[in-house]
Amino acid sequence: MISKTEISAATLAAALALLAVPASAQQTGGAKAGKEKCYGVALKGQNDCASKGVNSCAGQSKADYEGTAWKYVPAGTCETIKTPKGTGSLAPIKG
């Protein structure tokens, strides 16, 4: 049988004391403006019935991932983030 952990009266009292602080003060960022608090900020939906235009040729260009050559390298903030193995886009790990 698993030995039972007791929760001390002191722990319970401390938890209750922490809970006495209004919830809004525990939140990071503080209280939100009324509407946002009541309804939230909704992200854009991704279903609609509009066409996406022909100015971007995403659907028409030749498959750029076919064959053996992958011409893209990660080139965003990973070049800034310093990891234990060094800064920048790390040398590709084989495997």
């Binding site: 525990q26 939140q27 992200l43 992958w70 080139a75």
Partner: protein, 258 residues
């Protein structure tokens, strides 16, 4: 399936194919370009759905790399459901095994955090317990209480400082070298309408994982202490009652949720 539909679908998915037979534009040469509008609609909208759900991953590798990777993901994992808000649940796993991204080992976990964020955003609404619920539990019974956690909650443990990386790539923290590189545990939670992503300790992560398995509070505290000697039970119990748990029942009792 009808031929016309199978042919159209096949040509939509394979850009090497000509437009399906039997479709026409007003003149004889226009069909490839017009069929391209449909291919374009599909690809642009799916890329848009992934870009909207994974902004930090995109920032980490840059737009060009992200789009190229996303195209490959779309080819391998096209949507199976018309509900686009959940498209991309499999994207983190895809990135994990995606060779060109192996040089950015934290990318997949950043994407996991973002995937969880979208799930939390759309999770069911539920009201957390409160101070009164805790005050009403007899002291000797507290260790035996089991909890239902808020439906939005997910815990993600990474060998990388994933909460910091996420914050730096979504504009809530300045981008800077992370000198003290260590793993982080993330709590993803949506108490009301806004998703919160909190860095939690190893003990808190073990505590919540244990509670999520319906273990009683006492056992969850033991698990937390095993993971982290400095674990502070009072703090986590307060968090549990104020934001994380929506119902509780005494272990073994069929009781009514609070």
């Amino acid at each position: 399936m009808q031929d016309w539909q199978a042919n159209f679908a096949r040509a939509l998915l394979d850009r090497e194919l000509p437009p399906p037979p039997g479709v026409s534009a007003p003149n004889s040469t226009g069909a490839p370009e017009r069929f391209g509008v449909y291919r374009n609609n599909r690809m642009v909208s799916l890329l848009g759905a992934l870009e909207a759900r994974f902004p930090a991953a995109r920032k980490i590798v840059g737009t060009e790399f992200f789009k190229a990777a996303a195209r490959q993901f779309i080819a391998a994992h096209p949507p199976r459901s018309p509900i686009m808000i959940f498209y991309g649940d499999a994207f983190p796993e895809f990135l994990e095994s995606f060779k060109p991204a192996q040089g950015v080992p934290y990318l997949a976990d950043a994407a996991r955090l973002e995937a969880a964020r979208a799930r939390a955003y759309h999770a069911a609404d539920a009201k957390p317990l409160c101070r009164e619920a805790l005050a009403a539990v007899p002291g000797e019974a507290l260790a035996d209480m089991c909890f239902t956690l808020h439906p939005s909650i997910e815990i993600l443990s990474s060998p990388h400082p994933i909460v910091t990386i996420f914050a730096m790539n979504t504009g809530t923290m300045d981008l800077a070298p992370i000198v003290d590189w260590h793993g982080e545990h993330a709590l993803i939670l949506r108490p009301e309408y806004e998703v919160e992503i909190r860095r939690i300790s190893a003990g808190q992560a073990a505590f919540l994982r244990s509670l999520a398995k319906k273990n009683p509070l006492g056992e969850a505290i033991s698990a937390a202490l095993a993971a982290e000697a400095n674990f502070d039970p009072a703090n986590s119990i307060a968090l549990l009652f104020s934001r994380l748990a929506i119902a509780m029942v005494r272990n073994g009792a069929g009781g009514v949720p609070a």
